[in-house]
């Protein structure tokens, strides 16, 4: 594999977009709700990632056992992924032709 | 079992494919339980009742084992029969005519 292609794939592998709505408080539940809603929107477009539901489940587990810090961290990660998958879905809808090398 | 035997210039090449799971005893099922070992240990073949092949094999043989060997003296139309036994004592056999 030549270097250009290696770089190309590394670039592809790095998340191209990153944003997460800012939640001022440290309340996990609304973040989780947001993550779920966003993920379901992405899933409805067939763009769910394999990793996101597990993050939500892990956040809920951590919350249930009272590990609030861990739960918050996981919930934010889940929301971040859900948002990215939805952005990916919307981007694909509008720009899928750009994915063609032809 | 499937057997293909072909003679060419007095050399008969025999290929076999045996339907067998060849469980190594090291795999785990979905619940994490070890799947018990079950694998073919010996395979033998005869041509006109004369032995022409014998193999001892272990867990390292792939699922649905494939083996091939060659012998001299076979004629088109002759029967080649193959038998195997596995680690549970179960056996199987197959037969094919040389082409």
């Amino acid at each position: 594999m030549n270097k250009v292609r290696v770089l190309f794939f590394i670039a592809l592998s790095i998340p191209l977009f990153s944003s997460s709505r800012l939640y001022a408080g440290a309340d996990v539940k609304p973040i989780l709700d947001d993550a779920r809603t966003t993920l379901n929107q992405a899933a409805a477009k067939d763009f769910e990632w394999t990793t996101t539901r597990k993050l939500i489940a892990d956040a809920e587990t951590a919350l249930a056992v009272g590990d609030k810090d861990k739960s918050l961290k996981l919930a934010k990660a889940a929301l971040n992924e859900a948002e990215k998958s939805l952005i990916q879905a919307n981007y694909a809808e509008a720009h899928w032709q750009d994915g063609s090398p032809l | 079992m499937k057997i293909k035997a072909k003679v060419k210039k007095d050399i008969t090449k025999v290929k076999m494919l045996i339907k067998h799971p060849m469980e190594t005893g090291r795999r785990k099922d979905q619940d994490g339980n070890v799947i018990p070992g079950l694998y073919i240990t010996e395979v033998s073949a005869s041509h006109n009742s004369q032995p022409v092949f014998y193999a001892e094999v272990g867990q390292a043989v792939s699922k649905d084992p494939y083996m091939a060997f060659s012998f001299k003296g076979g004629m088109s139309g002759d029967k080649v029969s193959i038998t195997w036994i596995d680690s549970s004592g179960a056996t199987g056999k197959g037969e094919a005519a040389i082409k």
């Binding site: 594999m1 592809l12 592998s13 191209l16 067939d46 899928w96 | 499937k2």
Partner: protein, 294 residues
């Protein structure tokens, strides 16, 4: 233009088949309501798609793309040929034939559901059913046949269905894929499949085209990526990784998992449309299923 050049270099039989397909499509009815000449658009897509591989792998004969990654990688081809010499799917063909011959409870059989008694027809799948307004794959047709005769549908990824599909493919070996896009609704399904193919998805943000066009023939981790041209032709496959037969949609699901995209349902609309697009792109290649894969 690319396709014309390409065709000149391939075998005589394929020339005829290819030109026939082209002329049939070009001369067919084009009276679409929107005025779009979708048949010409599809043919342009096919030409561009096949020309892309011709340019990338100039040494590879067009007809060899039916062999998947083994068309373009000599080292793995050698091992594959060893497997194909006495392939493990031979059991599946026998089992599939036995299933195919077994009548349903109502006395009818699979042969009653298909043209030509179900023999030598793999190359016509998938096709677009203009009445049902959906893509019908061979596997879906098999289950539709079962349900029409009061039998329960089979699971879509492996097992009995894969064996039936393997048997039916085996009776069609060497036939040329002739999947067409007959009308505007079909063009819609085709376009959805095409969109799926070029859309990046999953946590790794890869599209089918990323791995199977741009990097086809090169290593993705430890594996050499196969060309998308010819993808559907060898299915179903006995995959060493599975240790059994599996369908194309089983493979799609695995591919999606690899890029960390949640797999979509086998025989759901998305995968059927993807198979449709891929089969149209692979027109002119031979039916080569079942086959073995790593």
């Amino acid at each position: 233009m690319g396709l014309i050049k390409l065709i000149l270099k391939i075998k005589a039989g394929l020339i005829l088949a290819g030109l026939l397909a082209l002329s049939c499509m070009a001369n067919g009815e084009t009276g679409s309501k929107s005025g779009l000449d979708f048949k010409a658009m599809v043919q342009q897509d096919v030409r561009d798609f096949q020309a892309y591989y011709k340019k990338r792998f100039s040494q590879v004969e067009f007809s060899k793309y039916k062999n998947g990654v083994y068309a373009i990688d000599a080292a793995s081809r050698e091992q594959w040929l060893e497997m194909e010499d006495f392939p493990p799917y031979e059991f599946a063909i026998d089992d599939g034939e036995a299933l195919f011959q077994t009548p349903f409870a109502n006395g009818k059989s699979y042969a009653d559901c298909f043209a030509n008694g179900g023999e030598s027809i793999r190359q016509n799948y998938p096709y677009f059913d203009s009445k049902k307004v959906e893509v019908i794959t061979l596997e879906l047709a098999i289950n539709n046949c079962r349900e029409a005769n009061g039998e329960k549908p089979l699971a879509y990824k492996k097992g009995a269905l894969a064996m039936l599909s393997a048997y039916m493919a085996s009776t069609s070996a060497g036939n040329i894929f002739a999947v067409s896009v007959p009308d505007e609704a079909a063009y819609q399904a085709y376009s959805e499949g095409k969109q799926f193919f070029y859309s990046k998805r999953g946590q790794l943000n890869f599209s089918c085209a990323d791995c199977h066009m741009r990097v086809a023939g090169q290593k993705l981790r430890a594996d050499i990526s196969s060309p998308a041209l010819g993808h559907p032709t060898g299915f179903p496959v006995y995959r060493a990784k599975w240790g059994e037969m599996g369908t194309l949609h089983h493979r799609y699901a695995g591919c999606n998992k690899n890029i960390r995209a949640k797999p979509l349902p086998a025989q759901g609309r998305a995968y059927r449309n993807l198979e449709y697009f891929q089969s149209v792109m692979s027109q002119g290649l031979e039916v080569n299923g079942p086959s073995s894969r790593k």
